[in-house]
Amino acid sequence: MQKRLIKYLAGYKIPVLASFALTLMVGAATVWQARFLSQAIAAVFIDQQSLAAVKNTVWLFFLTALLRMGSQWAGQSILYDISAKVKQTIRQQVTTCLQKLGPSYADQQQAGELKNSLTAGIERLDAFFSDYLPQLVTAVVIPVLVLIFIIPGDYLSALVFLLTAPLIPFFMMLIGDVARARTQRQWRALGRLNAFFSELLQGMVTVKILGCGEELAKKIRQVTDEFRTTTMGTLRIAFLSALVLELLSTLSIAIIAVQIGLRLLYGKIAYEQALFILILAPEFYQPLRRLGAQFHAGLESLAAARRLFAILDEKPPAHHGRIRPASSQESIVFEEVYYTYPGREASALQALSFRIEPGQKTALVGPSGAGKSTVIALLLRFIDPQRGDIFIGSQRLSGIDPELWRSGLTWAPQRPFLFQSTIADNIRLGDPQASLERVIQAAKQAHLHEHIEKMPRGYDSLIGERGVSLSGGQAQRLALARAFLKKASFIILDEPTSALDQESETAVARASAELIEGKTVLTIAHRLHTIEQYDQILFMEQGSISECGTHQALLRKQGRYAQYIHSAGAVV
């Protein structure tokens, strides 16, 4: 995990080296500051000199301080810069990958969690690149530098430093493994907690209808308490490592102080040298202590990275073909197609075969769970057949470039997703370059124009937050408006299962009839008037087609279809 993250730094060798050089500068300045200060104090205290005599040394001390603070800031600034660039790279990779994985992957995930990875998850990487990793370097550089300056003057103190320093990373690693596992658990708990909240609010109406608000308030307390328990469990251990580190450093300072104090007592060491070591002692341990503090944030960073890498490692379901689809007027043929959704035992499609000729209007009819939506998902290339093939003319669908394939078709789902943007932008999904005139034209064709006109800000009305919401029928018409704007030759429709209001019902019927004129059409149909007009009815049951023909022919046949229409009927 760490190695994989560090690889992202490969492109930034010069800035990384620059920040390393600045760290060295900080180390050197630290040592010189201690030298000047101990000189000045010793001169006044031991040699009884006047202030005027040491003034220059004091000013040198201050200048070195400025140098140290300046280098520290410059080094940190460079690191923030690198970290920002790496975050951009990873964001780019993850969003590209998400597009490749497509809707079938996104639907399996919790939207809130996935969104969190994309936003907060990427932000958390900062802790690794600009805090944890540099601290790891600093924790080596500064102590080594300090040692180099102490050894020539005082072997004994250097020995204390040398003996205590390695203990710190040792304890850190010892406790780190436990803490790492715990941190990941905590990150997952946080993800669940967030998902729980976003859902709670999405389902607020249901919560009110069921009257389970109090139950859920209790549940919030329970879930947050659980979260607190796991987090405190993590922290107790994560902080334990910091405790050990701090103990080591503070006790070492105490040992050094007592040890040089006693040697001073017997005149074995000069006061100036003793003070020099004492001033440096906290500087020696501080980077190691800070590392302990950053360690926890570093672990959180790694846990976030794990989720991001999990997305990157996911295999795209469709092997993306390169072939351009031949002419748009080709027959669509399903040959013995099988599909089973992951996690479900029963297969959604079983040896499904059918044929749609160019210009033909085909309706998929059948009970819920018959596999109608799966057919659409296959045609939209959200999923690929597990066995069998789909042919477009003579080409395999799996060999065709999915983007080019989709550019030749249009789709009006039952529940189109409404983006939190203006109505006009939502219609423009069909064609981003469309002028407002064309958008209005499409809305008129979809019989939605009048309704939009009535909104306070017309086509500029915002959907979503503090904006307008559309009824099911209106959303359906918006989907049709998108389809009108796109002008494709193959149209896939998914009629709403439930009844729309009367106005929408007629509007949708009229608009759909206009839309499909002269096009190849596949519709999941629930309406009698739709079915009656179509060239071909595919009656689906349990993942395959049990009857096929025109509405009239099938009714005459008095088979399963006739029975179904008779009993269930269509919505209208």
Partner: protein
């Protein structure tokens, strides 16, 4: 003080003792570090004068004590501080949820968007930092400043004043400078953050639509543009904070120089013993560590104020008032007797907006106790609206809605939910297990009860066939189940809730013939003492005699209130 900040403060006061304890521990930690350096400096300075070992004994014990106490206090401080943080998080979450609970769905409608997700998860999470990042650093800084000024004042008043001056600058001037330098960045960053959240969620949830229309690339490109700007601003902000931290370092060194320059002449003149020169200088160096988190606190304060402001927009909404409608009593019932299960609409006129034409006009319908009623009529005639009126999600314009013989306006929507078991058309299932989703209707229901209602509607076999049975998680939006299965689960959930009044909105949509008849049978077979209202396009094929059927048109009386009175008296048995 900012109103929202004040509210936050009041919420936090619940844990004031915890917070004081944490601050005290923070002060003791800093104090130990200072003590360690000062006693160490004293030991070597005193030793340089070659006294007997005995004279150093106390200082040696002191050094060891501070060495230990610093680490221990720090550990305790961090534990207490984080525990306070998580307690505050729970506190703020529940506060937000309880503020939300009395609101009715029309008020909540606009919240069903991506921004809400960012609000509740991110904003409430931001609030949790209120103590650890905003209150704690200045609290500890002030304590340390006071302590150090007093301590140095003992050596010489002037030293005390110098130390106070530099620490005052670090406590106040540096944070103010930080606030000024980051003023513009902060606001824009918060804007960007919420826009990015919206785009990211739209991108995830609307990926199917984006993909089919070939717009996914553009969508994520727009996300990338905003995110790049956000990253750049974050970087700049962090660089400014780092600059301020270096500034604190410069102040510390300046303080060291000032203390030295002041103390040296005192030593020269013998006003201060020479042993203490190193002590006061090293003490100042150790003390400045507490001022380092202050520039960061400014950033956090700004974020928290923004988050609190956004949350307040939601929590400040008022639920519809509970009104005592004395005049509108239904004549049929004895008000002092036990409440009777029934539903009544007396002369109700309702429209969704002022400008919209009324959906219901002088609508009257009385369903007596134990009634079995099917309400049919064309789409858009307001059938589904009746449920929302009964649950008091909307205010009726005119007329009165009765539940169990009492005017609905006397109660809030939560009370109504305890009387009515409803299966509306809009279905929502949480991505928890099937069992947990069912138990929302009745928390104390036994597993056998859950199975019983699922058997009644014919989904038990489907569920039992799943590898994890009733423990199977339902995907977000319930994607794993077909529309018909979800609808039947919603019916089962309403059955489990088992309240005096049942209302089903289009319970048989998406169902095949066999399932449809089964549902009709179940609904007709509900216990005698329950009142059942079914809204449906289609009527049952068998057992019609069990039902009373009304058409919407019969019940609306455009502009003729006298008719509705007639209906009221006629229909009241």
């Amino acid at each position: 003080m900012n109103e929202n900040l004040k509210r936050l403060f009041i919420q936090s006061l619940r844990y004031k003792w915890w917070m004081l304890l944490a601050a005290l521990l923070g002060f003791l930690t800093a104090g130990s570090a200072i003590g360690l350096m000062m006693t160490s400096a004293y030991i070597i300075s005193a030793a340089a004068l070659h006294p007997s070992v005995a004279e150093l004994q106390v200082a040696i014990v002191g050094v060891r004590f501070f060495g230990l106490s610093r680490a221990v206090f720090r550990y305790l401080e961090r534990l207490v501080t984080h525990s306070v943080t998580l307690r505050l998080l729970a506190q703020f979450r529940i506060w937000f949820f309880t503020a939300l609970a009395p609101l009715v769905p029309p008020q909540l409608a606009f919240l069903r968007s991506g921004d809400l997700l960012s609000r509740v998860t991110a904003d409430v999470e931001t609030l949790q930092n209120f103590y650890i990042r905003v209150l704690a650093p200045p609290l500890v800084s002030v304590l340390v400043t006071g302590f150090m000024a007093a301590l140095y004042g003992v050596f010489a008043i002037k030293l005390g004043l110098i130390v106070f001056a530099f620490m005052f600058l670090a406590t106040l001037a540096v944070p103010v400078l930080t606030a000024w330098m980051t003023h513009r960045i902060g606001g824009r960053r918060v804007d960007l953050e919420s826009q990015i959240a919206i785009l990211a969620l739209d991108g995830v949830q609307g990926l199917a639509d984006l993909t089919v229309f070939g717009r996914a690339k553009d969508h994520f490109k727009r996300l990338a543009q905003l995110h790049d700007e956000f990253i750049a601003l974050t970087k700049k902000q962090k660089q400014i904070v780092a600059l301020q931290e270096s500034l604190v370092g410069v102040l510390m060194n300046a303080a060291v120089v000032a203390v030295f320059m002041t103390a040296a002449p005192y030593v020269e003149k013998g006003l201060v013993q020479g042993v203490y020169l190193a002590v006061v200088v090293l003490g100042v160096m150790a003390a400045f560590e507490v001022f380092l988190p202050l520039p960061g606190a400014v950033m956090h304060l700004r974020e928290i104020v923004c988050a609190a402001k956004r949350l307040a927009e939601i929590t400040d909404m008022q639920p519809p008032p509970i009104r005592d409608v004395m005049g509108a009593m239904m004549p049929v019932y004895d008000w002092d007797g036990p409440p009777k299960p029934d539903i009544g609409f007396a002369d109700v006129t309702f429209s969704y907006g002022r400008s919209e034409p009324p959906l219901l006009q002088n609508f009257s319908l009385i369903i007596p106790p134990q009634g079995r009623v099917i309400l049919t009529g064309p789409s858009g005639s307001g059938k589904s609206t009746l449920i929302k009126l009964l649950l008091r999600f909307h205010e009726v314009g005119q007329g009165t809605v009765y539940v169990q013989g009492r005017p609905g306006m006397q109660y809030d929507s939560d009370f109504m939910a305890t009387r009515v078991s409803a299966a509306p058309q809009q279905l929502f299932f949480f991505s928890t297990s099937i069992r947990e989703n069912m138990l929302l209707a009745k928390a104390e229901a036994a597993p056998a009860d859950v199975i019983r209602v699922c058997e009644m509607v014919g989904v038990h076999e489907t569920i039992a066939a799943l590898p994890e049975g009733y423990e199977t998680r339902m995907g977000e939006w319930g994607v794993q189940f077909s529309g018909g299965e979800l609808r039947r689960l919603a019916i089962a959930r309403a059955l489990l809730a088992d309240k005096p009044i049942f209302i089903f909105d289009e319970p048989i949509a998406n169902l095949d013939a066999e399932q449809e008849e089964r549902i009709w049978e179940v609904l007709a077979g509900l216990p005698r003492h329950k009142t059942v209202l079914v809204i449906s396009h289609r009527l049952p094929k068998q057992g019609m005699e069990k039902w009373q059927v009304y058409r919407m048109e019969e019940l609306q009386h455009y502009g003729k209130p006298e008719d509705s009175e007639k209906i009221l008296s006629k229909k009241n048995l």
